[in-house]
Subunit: 341 residues, 2 copies
């Protein structure tokens, strides 16, 4: 059909073609498209007509190269699959889009090395900003980001010293508050099930919070009450069963991952264990599901949507000219007491 590989198909109409057909200069076309107010009514109409006639789409790649400005923001999350991230992503995407920016998403699978590779790749694409759902990075990531000079949001945890801007809640405080809440409700033997701790500052912080609260409550810190489990319904159920077997007096389980908590709840239903009669269940992160389960599940409400929204807003402000300053926003959390505790 064609002698060489067709790289990009398309007839590739360009700005100068439009200019010629409209009888104006390319610059006028450029202006009519980006800043219509700076062009006379007459010119604008000519340009618009030609643009419509040819179905012209300006080449943003050329535009970005020329203006040294891009309108794409990069986002790295540990996993796209997880619905927690999904609501944050949605919020980011919405705010960006409303301001004419786009989102490039990648997932690191909780690997710091992969995060590094992705940060390089995104910076090579010359993203104009970055959102990282992670607050511990390799040295190279820190260097790259500093050197690139693009605004960066870190989230997922509250770092003591953000790279640039951080929007999050404190995993430590949240876990501590929930544990304290359970103590206040009278529970005395509180198990803690955590997601994998390796390379995950969030999980670490939560566990620290749990122990801190136990100390505040004057309860013994028993490491055997802490179980590490990969996320998943079955794993949550298994963990609870194991805790109950090894600690007959267990009266509550705090699951630092909502899916784990729901899995535990289902396992209780299956075994006919009353929740909270036999054992109370508390969760982390307010999945919609938890409000509808039977019984409804006590949890921490993390304003994921707000985190996404504010992250994107900060980024956009900076991109629109706000002066660079280290910002660290604590969006807080809320304990939602429900039937399960």
């Amino acid at each position: 059909m064609s002698r060489k590989i067709k790289r990009n198909g398309g007839d590739d109409i360009k700005m100068s073609d439009i200019a010629r057909h409209a009888g104006v200069s390319p610059m006028t076309v450029s202006r009519a498209l980006r800043a219509p107010a700076t062009v006379s009514e007459k010119m604008r109409r000519k340009v618009d007509a030609a643009v419509r006639e040819f179905g012209y789409l300006p080449n943003r790649i050329a535009g970005s190269l020329s203006s040294k400005r891009s309108n794409v923001v990069g986002l790295i999350v540990p996993s796209i699959r997880n619905s927690l991230y999904a609501s944050m992503i949605q919020a980011i995407s919405d705010v960006l889009r409303a301001n004419g920016f786009h989102l490039m998403i990648a997932n690191s699978g909780h690997q710091l090395d992969d995060e590094e590779a992705l940060v390089s790749a995104l910076l090579a694409q010359r993203v104009c900003g970055l959102v990282l759902h992670n607050t511990t990075h390799t040295k190279r990531v820190r260097d790259l980001v500093r050197k690139a000079g693009v605004p960066v949001i870190e989230t997922g945890n509250l770092p003591a010293e953000p790279l640039d801007m951080a929007v999050s809640y404190s995993n430590f405080e949240a876990a501590r508050a929930m544990t304290a809440h359970l103590g206040r409700l009278g529970y005395r033997k509180i198990g803690f099930v955590t997601l994998p701790l390796r390379d995950n500052d969030r999980s670490e912080e939560r566990r620290r919070g749990y122990f801190a609260a136990l100390k505040d409550l004057g309860l013994p810190a028993d490491p055997s009450l802490v179980l590490e489990a990969p996320g998943g319904f079955s794993e949550g159920g298994d963990a609870l069963v194991r805790l109950v077997q090894t600690h007959p007096g267990l009266d509550a389980g705090f699951f630092a991952g909502d899916v784990l908590a729901v899995g535990a709840l289902f396992e209780c239903q299956r075994r006919g264990w009353a929740v909270p009669g036999r054992v109370a269940i508390a969760s982390f992160d307010d999945l919609d599901l938890l409000r509808h389960a039977v019984p409804t599940v006590t949890t921490l409400r993390i304003p994921r949507h707000e985190i996404g929204r504010r992250s994107a807003e900060l980024l956009v402000n900076r991109l629109l000219g706000a002066s660079p300053e280290r910002i660290r926003i604590d969006v807080g959390f809320e304990i939602v007491q429900r039937e399960s505790t």
Copy 2:
């Protein structure tokens, strides 16, 4: 600090700088980076050293402009928040990344007009391929896509005439199969709860499938057995209650949306209605949740992950040179019979 707005920060080291410091020509740097095999060992080492010394990141924007090739694929989903899409997105992202491509994601919120705006925007960014989770488009979208000449995957449904390539299952056949399955199990008064039908070919098809199956079963087509509900746990519960109230003989509910089904299940638990004793519940889409709920829920397993994987693979093949041909892949579905029916 600086007299003019700093657009992109960074010292902006470029290829010619690296070339100078390595004592070679820019072309050699370019080759050493993209096709190391075409460059002598000696040159490659010089280049690598300079690249590392300066922490140089090639500018992909310039590269794309020059080569007329981009490595970014665009994806438009109705909603990022929904976990159905999440597992497909993850699969797409993984395959693309393994082949050196990136993903730009946007969500249309089920609006065809928004889809149109996003397709324009993505094509203006000169994405090298497009995945649309939708099979009905505005005329302009069809024109734009044709003109751009980039490979396109449609998914979410099986269109009779794909724009280019389609990877999906048949919503019609799936809904028909599940309804038939319920009939085979002996249910005679089967309610159908659908997601909003407006501008949504998937929902339409599912409803058609339901009616087709009723006809096959020799059961009357009673429009009052069909309820439209926005997605959500409460909405699923409400819909079931309404159906039961208006049709005392209702013995099964088929929910064309997993969240609706789970909501209905919870409502039954709350009211003490035996599932499936009082009413059976069947769902669409095999959320993990359904396998763990009590009782476990009968559903249609849609290979979302496979859809994402194969979509991305087709796209990558085409981008790597496979000849353009209309492809229409039916990945099928599977009925998973569980305790709830």
